[in-house]
């Protein structure tokens, strides 16, 4: 038995927020507060001054294996994930070969099992090879264990294909994870269309590329009767149509990538490839609307959207670099900075990073309720530290936070009651 003592326990599922002990036995939470009946001798973990909360879940983890081991491996990234407080990762299907059949899924789950750190679930490809033409064998993917299907940011050009794919996913009872983007408006762009793209002369993606696609997808979803999750919204105007659709009874949820809550197109400034993201960082008005959306609950979840890259992927002129940020290990301090800035309160932040994405993925974690799997993290909200290329555990060093002082760090992570990460050594 484990007893995590005297921490500030935040459990959004129950609304609990206060100093308490968390008792863990046989891989599950057995009590929060007083010792459970018949508790024997427990190993004690002091957590005074720390926050104890459910582990985070990332709805879009690019684990790079199989096929892109030069960037990262499941072993390296699950290690980085637990160091960042993540206990559940949803692996994206942009592997090589593409995860459009059960054999790739089995390989990923096997490797994740070997690594034995974070829990890994997978999204299957919505279309064969993510090519947007032929539907994947969704029933087979579901039977093998995929928690949903997606075409990622490979926008489906042909609206008829999209309509059919949504209908087929509905009959397979699979949630479709949508990256809403109009192919034609987005295809040549590398950043948000606005004053910065105009000044830098970088081909741009207008906000309308996303907003139009959100409206289109909602219309098609209503027809198809499919369940959908909108991934990494970037435009402020995308929020309202989703809220309206939910009011009409459509089963839709949405998330935002943490980067889009922290940065804007201004941060691209002088062609900094660490800010090359897809969908792109948009303007301050969009960022404010997205923050507001999280606060109001219009946007359910905040994702890490971890995209580790090798150095070569970012060593090119801006438009020729690959988009994405390696984000697990800096996720918590970035989230705390948003709380500090007043974007939303800490329980709301934790709910959006743990409870909500677990629910979207249909997973049991994200809560400290009695009987729940003991997937949790303990963090020191005041610990100051500086991430460096050498100290990041992720194989991807593509982070805008390198060599910058950050506040807040995960000190302990448990998956199924087992300690999978413990911060050791000098802490500053």
């Amino acid at each position: 038995m484990l007893r995590i003592r005297d921490g500030r326990v935040i459990d959004p599922a129950s609304g609990h927020d206060g100093i308490a002990d968390v008792w863990i036995d046989d891989g599950h939470v057995v009590a929060v507060g007083r010792a459970p009946r018949g508790a024997g001798k427990a190993r004690e973990i002091p957590a005074k001054g720390m926050v104890v909360c459910p582990g985070f879940a990332d709805p879009g983890s690019h684990l790079r294996e199989p096929g892109y081991e030069r960037k990262a491996t499941i072993a390296s990234e699950t290690r980085a994930a637990v160091a960042g407080g993540f206990t559940t990762l949803c692996c994206t299907p942009d592997t090589s070969p593409v995860l459009d059949n059960p054999s790739v899924l089995e390989h990923i789950l096997h490797e994740a099992g070997e690594a034995g750190l974070a829990r890994v679930v997978c999204l299957g490809a919505l279309t064969v090879g993510l090519q947007g033409e032929v539907l994947s064998e969704m029933h087979a993917l579901k039977a093998a264990g995929c928690v949903g299907v997606t075409n990622l940011d490979r926008a489906i050009k042909d609206t008829a294909v999209l309509k059919h794919a949504l209908a087929y996913a509905a009959s397979a009872e699979l949630t479709v994870f949508l990256h809403a983007e109009d192919y034609w408006l987005a295809r040549q762009g590398n950043m948000h269309e606005g004053p910065v793209s105009t000044r830098l002369g970088v081909p741009a993606i207008p906000a309308s590329a996303e907003v139009i696609a959100v409206h289109r997808d909602l219309t098609l979803l209503a027809e198809a009767g499919a369940r959908a999750h909108f991934c990494r919204l970037s435009a402020g105007d995308s929020v309202k149509p989703i809220v309206d659709a939910r009011r009409r009874g459509l089963p839709v949820t949405a998330d935002v990538a943490l980067s889009n809550l922290c940065f804007t197109a201004d941060d691209v400034g002088g062609f900094d490839a660490n800010f090359h993201l897809r969908p792109p960082l948009r303007d301050a008005r969009d960022r404010a609307a997205l923050r507001k959306g999280v606060k109001s609950g219009a946007i359910d979840a905040i994702g890490a959207y971890h995209e580790p890259h090798d150095a070569d992927a970012k060593a090119a002129p801006f438009g020729l670099t690959e988009p994405g940020v390696s984000s697990y290990e800096t996720f918590l301090p970035a989230l705390l900075a948003l709380v500090e800035a007043g974007a939303f309160d800490l329980p709301a932040a934790i709910a959006a990073a743990s409870l909500a994405p677990h629910r979207v993925l249909g997973q049991a974690g994200g809560t400290l309720a009695v009987g729940a799997p003991a997937d949790l993290c303990v963090f020191d909200p005041a610990l100051r530290w500086v991430p460096t290329a050498a100290s990041l555990l992720s194989a991807g060093k593509n982070s805008p936070y390198l060599d910058q002082p950050l506040t807040g760090r995960v000190t302990l992570t448990l998956v199924g009651g087992r300690i999978v990460h413990e911060l050791t050594g000098p802490r500053a």
Binding site: E193, P195, T198, R199, G201, V202, F271, A315, P317
Partner: protein
């Protein structure tokens, strides 16, 4: 903006010449003044000064160019440098070599300066951050971003004909959206004090938010060139003449082509400029291009002196010592 940080050394002297944005007015004036000293070199019987003797300049052109490459070539030779012209579009990249690897190989050939043209915005900035510290990089045009030596030769031309910048009304006409010449000119002319700077073109060719760069936007040519002292016509790329951006070259000429009648709306002594090569009958009528108000060929000539000035400045050799 990170670019200016690497353009200047700790003493504010030019190390690379990548973008006009971020460069102080004094430095732009210094480029123009140095170019004035180099201009007479071209009129001599022996058109050479020994400022860059023993230095090797590599012209790295990742996209085709005639005028810019030729004038950089001439400028380097008049400074007595050894020049290596590399048409990289046709060689390494087609074989799959990365830009970073191409640069490493050229560095191994012990060059001192790279003049770079590349089709992607930010390429010159990237290259300047990659190269060994003793190498200077000059941007010969990166994507749609900047073409800073073009802007300096344009500013030189304007100062020669108009005497200064502050009181001028200048209209830049045409495909601003895809033009690095327009962006560099806007940055340079605003820095040099032009208060009335207008961009003129159909809404499909004017990028959103360009007002933030200090210009006013006009989609009517007659209105846009009213009273202008300088009318700067941009080249319309072939691939845009008939596309989703424009219906046809003939409609473009009717609405945005500079004719004698239209030019009459500008100031009586207005000059007409163009970065070349011109499309006669598309953005400009021949009678205007070849007319008395056109300074298009002077721009080309001044380009050599301006590029000599920039090259000598980034190599740390002052113009005064050799050119006088």
């Amino acid at each position: 903006m990170a670019t200016p940080d690497i353009q200047l050394d700790a003493h504010g002297r030019l190390r690379h010449f990548l973008a006009i944005e971020g460069l102080p007015r004094d430095l732009l004036i210094q480029v123009l003044d140095n170019a004035e000293r180099f201009a007479p070199v071209g009129d001599r019987a022996v058109k050479k000064v020994p400022l860059l003797r023993g230095k090797t300049v590599a012209n790295l052109f990742f996209e085709p160019s005639t005028r810019t490459r030729t004038t950089f070539d001439l400028a380097a030779k008049r400074l007595s440098a050894d020049v290596l012209n590399l048409n990289i579009e046709a060689s390494s990249t087609k074989k799959g070599e990365s830009l970073a690897d191409t640069l490493r190989n050229l560095e191994a050939m012990q060059c001192d300066m790279f003049v770079v043209r590349h089709h992607v915005s930010g390429a010159a900035d990237f290259i300047a951050r990659q190269v060994a510290p003793h190498i200077s990089v000059i941007n010969g045009g990166d994507g749609r971003h900047e073409h800073p030596t073009q802007a300096m030769l344009d500013a030189f031309t304007i100062r020669r004909f108009k005497g200064g910048f502050e009181r001028l009304k200048i209209a830049i006409v045409g495909d601003v959206a895809h033009s690095r010449v327009a962006r560099s000119n806007i940055q340079a002319l605003r820095t040099l004090g032009v208060a009335d700077l207008r961009v003129v073109g159909p809404k499909t060719l004017i990028p959103p938010g360009i007002e933030a760069m200090g210009v006013t936007v006009c989609d009517d040519l007659d209105e846009g060139i009213e009273g202008a002292d300088v009318v700067y016509m941009l080249r319309l790329q072939q691939e845009r003449m008939q596309s989703a951006l424009l219906p046809s070259p003939s409609e473009y000429f009717r609405e945005y082509g500079l004719t004698a009648a239209r030019l009459a709306r500008a100031a009586p002594d207005a000059i007409v400029m163009h970065p070349g090569p011109i499309n006669r009958g598309v953005e400009i009528a021949s009678v205007v291009a070849d007319g008395p108000q056109s300074v298009i060929l002077e721009q080309v000539t001044f380009g050599i002196a301006v590029r000599m000035a920039v090259m000598s400045m980034v190599m740390g050799t002052q113009a005064q010592t050799g050119a006088a």
